[in-house]
Every structure is written in structure tokens, then in C-alpha cells.
């Protein structure tokens, strides 16, 4: 039987506010346990939440960026359950009326564009952390994170493969980074994802029973976890079994998913509107103000790269997905006279390869944008050839200094004096009378031999274009 995969994602994005969503405590990451837990974070008796409007501003920013409906009246609700790192015994979230309603984002798979629906995005507070190490059979509780603002972005079940799910996740990641509403750091947990996965026979319109995958903390694991879960479900169904609705945990070490709790064990969260927080009202001026603060978004930037720089669709996409990479490109392009084409080639080529090799982010690049720009300028003004530029790049990456000093130190300056080149050409032709004869007999290929000899003598520094011209002139 042919199976179709159906995936929906719930993405938790930690919003970059200075203070927590319902108190004045700091949200900075990495402080000593419970040093950023004020009386509200600890949920002392009698404390009350007060909405941090900055969190609402960031949520609206996201909503506007994906063209979603903004609910100018949204309601906070209590999600009740017991857990040691949930200090109040309930999480303040939004249930019936979220701040952001329906919207959509576009992803591109193998050159084809697809729209993925966003059902809603709602504000909520994060829980604390349970610490299981160093407490000798006991559990430590760190409430520094408790109350950090989260935006939970819920998609429609619109994705049909693990690759699409990753593309969508990357798209959302890219948007929140562009908007500057989150640092998007998956390791530190500021960008987290749960996946609802089901399969159904191709052609069937009803959805199959879904499993919710938790604990997937990298783009790579999202893809792997979904793949392994899809395989598990198909095997189960093909063996005549049934998928049960449950929450499953992804174990990246074993690359397997395993049951956490079944539907029967699922919590009844007993949601009800939080009587401590009146409905949140956002007036037109607030929305207009946020709208005005919206930066250029990834898809807009991509279109601009295609239009203004005459770059291809795919390379524009590659350049713009990560805001920092696009910023790097634009800085190189404005600083250098070499033009966008050569900048694009070098950034997606040599630079990206070097970053990948060492598993670095663009922000950790060993060559800065101005340094890169100078290197490209030296190609452009013919100081070095493109081929030698690669050597220069490698040296710069190793920390030998900027382009000019590497060229100087290594004596890589290109020979552009036509007299000098002519002398070398004459010498080569004189030493190779056989090959000259072959050329005259119609063998065009020997031209490569002459170029090779000339480059050897000039140590690669002769300007290739000039070499070609002079050779042809002499031979023809």
C-alpha cells in the first residue's frame, strides 16, 4: 500500500524580552539557579501576574509578518497540572482566544512553492527546570526560566514529508530571527518543536491516528524523528496493528521514539480564563506602531536579491534564509566594487564550505565581511587571479592576515605588464617548436599546453586573459 504522511508542528519560541511575561524578573540565560526567580516566579502565596506588553508587541510582530489575523482582544487562561517545575500548579497560556489567529508561510521544496497554514500563535509562560544531577536521588528545581515568555506557533497538518516539516521549521526560525523576536537558539531551548505525525493510505481523506513527538531539539533530529516515527506507524499498520494516540519521546542516541503517555493518561488541563488577568486589548495605534517597526522579511529580501542583484532564485534563497548570512552578503557587496555575482559565488562557495567544515555559524566566520570585500576587490582589480584568490582565502582563513598582506607576503601579485608576459610567451614558444607546428597543423588543444607552461614560469601570476590574447596574436 502507498502511504501518505501528515505532519503538523507546534513550535515554542522564547521571546526576547528583558523581563518575564508576568513579572519584572530578568530572563537572561545561564544565571545561577533561582537567582532570577522573584516572588512571582516562585509563586509565593498572594502574588499576582502583570502582563509585560513587550511580549505582546513581539507576538504581534510575528503575526503581522505571516499575514495573520491579530486578535485585538485576547484572553489568558490557566492550564492546570501538577509538576515540580510548574510553581503555580498551572501555566498561564491562551486557549480560546489567542493573540495571533490564522496565517500562512511559504516554503520552497525542489523549486516548488507551497503554502503551510499557521492555525494560531499564542502567548504563554515557560516552566522552570528540573535538575536531576548532583542531588543524590533528589531533584533540584531551578525557577530562573519560569515565566519566560513563549510564543507557541501551531501549524495546520499541512506538511507531507519530514523534509517539508524541516523546511517549514527553518522558515519559522528564519522569520523569528529576522524579526529579532527570539535568538532562536535550539541548544539553549529558546526554539523548541513538537511534531504531530500520522500516516494514511494515499487517497484517503480522513487523517490517521496521530502521535505527538516531544523533545526534538535540532533541525536534524526533527527530520530523523519524523522519519523513524513514520516508519514505525507504517510497519504497525501493515502488520495489521493500530496506531494509538499518544505522546512519544524521541531518543536521539538510539534514534527511536518511545511512548511517554497514552490518550487515557493524557491530562485534563481544566482550562478556564485567568481571573487575575483581564482580557488583553490591543488598540489600532498599537498594531499600527508594530506594523511600522517590521523589518524586511526573508521572502521580501529574497525577491529584492533576485531583482536588484540579478541572482538566481535558489542562491537568493540560500543567501537570505539566515539573516546573518544575508547581512554578511550585503555588507560585502556594498563595501566591494566586485559586484553581487562574484560576492554571491564566493560566499555560497568557499566561505560556506569553510564554515561547514568547521561547523561554524556565519557570525563565527574567521573572515569578516570587510576582509572578504577586499579579497574580492583584488580579483576585480586584477591584482590576483581567481585561482590564486583561493590560496589567499585559505591563508586568510588560517589567520595569516588580510588579503593585501597575504598577497604581499606570498608575492602573489598578478603580472599584468604585457611586455613581461610577452617575454615569457616568446620564451615558451621558442622552446616548443614541435607544439607550435602542431598548432599550425590545426590542433587547437595544444594551446592549453602553452598556457600551462606560461603559468608555470610566471608561478601562476600572469593574467590569464592577457596570456590568451598575446598567445593567439603570436600564433595566428
Amino acid at each position: 500500500m502507498q502511504w501518505e504522511t501528515v505532519i503538523g508542528l507546534e513550535i515554542h519560541v522564547q521571546l526576547q524580552t528583558k523581563s518575564k511575561i508576568f513579572s519584572g524578573a530578568s530572563t537572561a540565560y545561564g544565571a545561577a539557579p533561582n537567582t532570577q526567580a522573584c516572588e512571582v516566579s516562585i509563586a509565593l502565596p498572594g502574588v499576582l501576574p502583570v502582563m509585560n506588553t513587550e511580549a505582546a508587541r513581539l507576538a504581534v510582530k510575528f503575526g503581522l509578518a505571516i499575514g495573520a489575523e491579530i486578535n485585538q482582544r485576547s484572553v489568558f487562561a490557566r492550564k492546570n497540572y501538577f509538576y515540580p517545575d510548574l510553581p503555580k500548579g498551572y501555566q498561564i497560556s491562551q486557549f480560546e482566544i489567542p493573540i495571533v489567529g490564522k496565517g500562512e508561510v511559504e516554503i520552497e521544496m525542489d523549486g516548488k512553492r507551497r503554502k503551510i497554514g499557521v492555525t494560531r500563535a499564542h502567548l504563554e509562560e515557560d516552566a522552570g527546570k528540573s535538575l536531576h544531577e548532583n542531588f543524590d536521588k533528589e531533584t533540584g528545581i531551578d525557577l530562573n526560566r519560569a515565566g519566560t515568555p513563549l510564543l507557541e506557533i501551531v501549524s495546520e497538518p499541512d506538511m507531507r514529508s519530514a523534509e517539508e516539516a524541516v523546511a517549514y521549521l527553518r522558515k519559522i526560525h528564519s522569520i523569528v530571527r529576522y524579526l529579532g523576536i527570539s535568538d532562536g537558539n535550539m541548544q539553549e531551548g529558546s526554539f523548541r518543536c513538537d511534531a504531530n505525525v500520522s500516516v494514511r493510505p494515499v487517497g484517503q481523506s480522513e487523517f490517521g491516528t496521530r502521535a505527538e513527538l516531544k523533545n526534538i531539539n535540532s533541525f536534524r533530529f526533527v527530520e530523523k524523528a519524523i522519519r523513524i516515527e513514520v516508519d514505525r506507524q507504517i510497519d504497525l499498520l501493515e502488520d495489521g496493528g493500530e496506531v494509538v494516540q499518544e505522546t512519544r519521546l524521541y531518543d536521539s542516541d538510539k534514534n527511536e521514539t518511545r511512548s511517554m503517555r497514552s490518550k487515557e493518561e493524557a491530562h485534563d488541563y481544566r482550562y478556564f480564563p485567568d481571573p487575575d488577568l483581564p482580557p488583553m486589548i490591543l488598540d489600532d495605534a498599537f498594531i499600527a506602531d508594530v506594523k511600522q517597526s517590521l523589518p524586511e522579511l526573508p521572502h521580501e529580501r529574497k525577491e529584492r536579491f533576485i531583482d536588484s542583484f540579478s541572482l538566481g532564485v535558489q542562491e537568493s534563497d540560500q543567501l537570505t534564509q539566515d539573516k546573518a548570512l544575508a547581512d554578511f552578503f550585503e555588507e560585502v557587496n556594498t563595501t566591494s566594487a566586485a559586484g553581487p555575482r562574484i560576492a554571491c559565488n564566493w560566499i555560497l562557495g568557499e566561505l560556506s564550505a569553510s564554515l561547514n567544515n568547521e561547523d561554524l555559524e556565519i557570525t563565527q566566520s574567521k573572515i569578516s565581511a570587510p576582509q572578504m570585500a577586499t579579497l574580492l576587490d583584488r580579483i576585480h582589480d586584477k591584482t590576483i587571479s581567481g585561482k590564486l584568490a583561493k590560496e589567499v582565502f585559505a591563508a586568510m582563513w588560517q589567520g595569516e592576515g588580510d588579503a593585501d598582506s597575504v598577497i604581499e607576503k606570498r608575492g602573489l601579485k598578478q603580472i599584468t605588464d604585457s611586455g613581461e608576459i610577452e617575454a615569457i610567451v616568446d620564451q615558451v614558444l621558442a622552446d616548443a617548436s614541435d607544439q607550435v607546428q602542431q598548432y599550425k597543423d590545426g590542433n587547437q588543444k595544444v594551446i592549453g599546453f602553452f598556457v600551462g607552461q606560461i603559468m608555470k614560469i610566471s608561478q601562476g601570476k600572469a593574467n590569464p586573459q592577457q596570456v590568451n590574447e598575446i598567445l593567439r596574436k603570436k600564433l595566428d
Partner: protein, 484 residues
């Protein structure tokens, strides 16, 4: 000394008739002397004397307010920095609050002196003060009778002259009913008038702090000091607080008093009904007019309240889980067992009953039938008041259907206990201000309370009417035998 009201103490302190330290010492002695009333969970002698010394210095240096140096008892529902704060529950065993409630801060800023923390029904759930982990409180008018609840300790303390004033809170009648049972004046302002920050939550949408005093004048003075916007409470009202003292002496001639026929039915004891009729005659003699009004949905007030209040309570009390502070069970097998044992041992029966009711009405499948339905009824009850207030300036009736009942009388019948609040809890559902003032004694010599309900935000009118009533009557001057 203790026969004096807050106002009278203020004048005496100003004149130097005695110092705050002397006054405080006097009340501390009385508290010790009448310990058997069990009105206090904690007394704070040393802090009180320090506060009194500071108050005396303020008075000497001319930096005093009217309230500086006057002792007050604080209900143990308010978090008080450095002092045991229990909310009448075992589950807060050993909890020394690291912060002050906003109400406490405001009262401290006035330079008042905290004598201690008063006994109360556990988490303010009760109408007799018998659900307290710290034991029942006696009514000074008859020590075999309950003082009412949940602010039973506050009422008992003020009635027995162990303090001239006590803070209190009211979720369904917890200020007004004990004030009525103890012959005192107790006001619950409009919802949002006084900050709830630091006041341990029972039912957040109904809870409101107020004050129990001996007369309306003191109530006005105290409410003035306690009220006002607090940025830490999102439900507190960002509105200017009226000058309550300024309108106390206004004539009430021409004011229209609404009398809901539902408040004068069969369920009311005849002694209470007669006393309230007499009180209304007094008000008419002062020039007020009366008009009959209807509150047709008042009969669903109790069921509506007993869905919504437990629903909110079940969630509010989830934080008492044994993890971070307060009581934790001594033995348990695992995490869930720790929660279960801690909460089973830490909460009393009535609190557990309400947590279970609340959990039930919020459960999926029952939410619409109970919680949503009750919210609709709440709206209807509120609309009834709005309609009634088109015809009148305030509403009057009995605070409770009867007078103080014997200790242990209604413990086995929660519904009978809940019916005590039949006239008071619709006022909380509608968020309105209400005051109870002494208006007679029954044949057994137990106080009867007159209940005045004001329009939303209009505490001034009920304080004005209560004060004018007290100027022509002397019920508020009567003290229980042996406590004068």
C-alpha cells in the same frame, strides 16, 4: 483606653493623653488576657512595640497621619514580611512571608502598629471560623457561639476590644457576616478598589479586602488608607479614590433606598426581620425614601457562587504542593504520592471539598454545564442589580438570615452553612460595595446586622448612610458583656 474608637485614639495620641507604646501595650495585654477567644493565630509583641516607638517619634516630630500609632490586627490572609502567614491552614506551616501585601505596606506607611495576625477559616472558606487549622474562635457576645467567618478572628478581636480595628477580606460575605454576628461595622468595597497583591487568593474574581471597625467613620478613614491603584494587581482599578470622610456628614434626605422583596422572605428570623424594619424606619425618619426593587435571580446566587468560587479556588490552591514552602508530608513513595499525602494532610475537610467541587466543574465534559452556566448566571445577577439601581441609590436588607449560631452547630451540613451568605454573596458576584452595621440585638442578646449595598464604585453613599444611621442609634456603641 480600649473603649475608644480609631478616631478617638487618634485624637488622644495627638493630644499626648497616652503614647502609642502605652496604647499598644494595653491592647497586647488584653489579647493575652482573652487568649481563650482564640482570635489570634500569631501575636507580634516585639515588632508591635518597635512600630509603636517609631510611631511615637513620628507623632512627636509632627510627621504623623491620623492613623499613626494606632494598633491594628491583620487577618492572617495577608502576607506580612518576617511574620508567620498561615491563611488558617496547616499547609502553610512555618511559612514566614518574605514580602508584605500591598494592603500591609499601605497600613504600615500610615505608621499603624500591627498587634498580630487574626484567626480565620482555612483559606477564607467558611462562615463560622470553624474550618481554621488553629481552632475555632469564640464570639465575645456569647462564647458558645461562632463569631462568623471567614474573618472571625478579626471580628472577635474588635468586638472584644482587643484591637480598635482589624483588616478583613470578603469573597462571599466574610467581612459583613462576622461584622453582623459581632455587632460591628464591616465594609467590603467594590471589586478592584483595594489591591489583592499579597492577599492569599481564594477566588480571585470575588476576593476583596476591607475592614472591620466599630463604626462607619472609622471604616471610612481606614478604607481611605487601604484603597487605590496598584500596578502589581491587574484587576485593581486605576481610578481616583473618593474622599470618603468628606461625604459622611451629608444629609441622606431624599436618598432612595431599594428594598428587594427577596431579602425579606420566609427564611429570615423574625427578630432579624423586625430589627431591619425598625432600622429602615430610622432611615426614613432621616428623610430617606424607600422603594421596593426586584432581584429575581438572587435565589441562584448560592449555587452560582458555589460553582465559581471553588473553580477558582481549585486552581489558586494548586501552588500548595509541598515543593517550595510550607508543609510537606513526612513520608511518601514518589512525586505523586508526595503531592497526595501533602495535600491530604495539609488541607482541611472544607478546603478539600471545595477543591474537589472546583476540579469537577472545570473538568472537560462538565465545564459548559457548570462553569459556563454559572458565568451566565453571574451576569444575570449583576444585571438585576443594575436594573434595581435605576430606581434607587442603595439597597438595604439583613446581612444574614439569623444571628450567631452555636459552635459545631452546622459543621455536618455544608449547605446550611453556605445559606448564611445568601444575602452577601450576590454582592461579590456583582463586584459591588457592601457594608454591615449593627442594628439591634435578638432575644438572646446577639447582634443583628443591617446590610447596605451600594452602586459599583459608590462606597461613599453606603458609608454616608451608615454613619448617619449610627448618629441616631446606639447599637454600634454596645459592647459584649465583660469586654466593655
Amino acid at each position: 483606653m480600649h473603649e475608644k474608637t480609631v478616631q478617638q485614639h487618634a485624637e488622644a495620641l495627638k493630644k499626648g493623653e497616652y503614647s502609642s507604646v502605652e496604647l499598644t501595650t494595653h491592647y497586647l495585654d488584653r489579647i493575652k488576657q482573652h487568649e481563650s477567644l482564640n482570635a489570634f493565630i500569631t501575636t507580634t509583641e516585639s515588632q508591635a512595640l518597635e512600630q509603636a516607638e517609631r510611631a511615637d517619634k513620628r507623632i512627636q516630630s509632627g510627621d504623623a497621619t491620623t492613623l499613626t500609632g494606632i494598633p491594628i490586627a491583620q487577618k492572617d490572609i495577608f502576607c506580612t514580611k518576617g511574620v508567620l502567614t498561615t491563611c488558617g491552614s496547616k499547609i502553610l506551616e512555618g511559612f514566614i512571608s518574605p514580602y508584605d501585601a500591598t494592603v500591609i505596606t499601605k497600613i504600615n506607611d500610615q505608621g499603624m502598629v500591627m498587634l498580630g495576625k487574626t484567626n480565620m477559616d482555612e483559606f477564607a472558606m467558611g462562615s463560622s471560623n470553624e474550618t481554621s487549622f488553629y481552632g475555632p474562635v469564640q464570639n465575645p457576645w456569647d462564647t458558645g457561639k461562632v463569631p462568623g467567618g471567614s474573618s472571625g478572628g478579626s471580628a472577635s478581636a474588635v468586638a472584644a476590644r482587643l484591637a480598635p480595628v482589624a483588616s478583613a477580606t470578603d469573597t462571599g460575605g466574610s467581612i459583613r457576616q462576622p461584622a453582623a454576628f459581632c455587632g460591628l461595622t464591616g465594609i467590603k468595597p467594590s471589586y478592584g478598589r483595594v489591591s489583592r497583591y499579597g492577599m492569599i487568593a481564594f477566588a480571585s474574581s470575588l476576593d476583596q479586602a476591607g475592614i472591620i471597625t466599630r463604626n462607619a467613620e472609622d471604616a471610612a478613614l481606614m478604607l481611605q488608607a487601604m484603597s487605590g491603584f496598584d500596578a502589581r494587581d491587574s484587576t485593581s482599578l486605576d481610578l481616583e479614590v473618593p474622599d470618603y470622610m468628606a461625604t459622611l456628614e451629608d444629609s441622606i434626605a431624599g436618598k432612595t433606598i431599594g428594598l428587594p422583596k427577596e431579602f425579606f422572605g420566609d427564611g429570615v428570623d423574625s427578630a432579624v426581620a423586625d430589627a431591619i424594619q425598625l432600622a429602615i424606619r430610622e432611615l426614613e425618619a432621616l428623610g430617606a425614601k424607600t422603594v421596593e426593587v426586584e432581584l429575581p435571580n438572587s435565589e441562584v446566587g448560592i449555587p452560582c457562587y458555589y460553582v465559581l468560587a471553588p473553580a477558582e479556588a481549585s486552581s489558586n490552591l494548586s501552588r500548595f504542593d509541598g515543593v517550595r514552602y510550607g508543609f510537606r508530608a513526612g513520608e511518601y513513595d514518589d512525586l505523586n504520592d508526595m503531592y497526595e499525602q501533602t495535600r491530604a494532610e495539609g488541607f482541611g475537610e472544607e478546603v478539600q471539598r471545595r477543591i474537589m467541587i472546583g476540579t469537577y466543574v472545570l473538568s472537560s465534559g462538565y465545564y459548559d454545564a457548570y462553569y459556563i452556566k454559572a458565568q451566565k448566571l453571574r451576569r444575570m445577577i449583576s444585571d438585576d442589580f443594575t436594573r434595581a439601581f435605576q430606581k434607587c441609590d442603595l439597597i438595604a436588607g439583613p446581612t444574614t438570615p439569623g444571628t450567631a449560631f452555636p459552635l459545631a452547630d452546622k459543621n455536618d451540613d455544608p449547605v446550611a452553612m453556605y445559606l448564611n451568605d445568601i444575602f452577601t454573596n450576590s454582592v461579590n458576584l456583582a463586584g459591588l460595595p457592601g457594608i454591615s452595621v449593627g442594628a439591634g440585638l435578638d432575644e438572646a442578646g446577639l447582634p443583628i446586622g443591617l446590610h447596605l449595598i451600594g452602586k459599583y464604585l459608590d462606597e461613599s453613599t453606603i458609608l454616608n448612610v451608615a454613619h448617619q444611621y449610627q448618629k441616631v442609634t446606639d447599637w454600634h456603641l454596645k459592647a459584649p458583656g465583660g469586654f466593655a
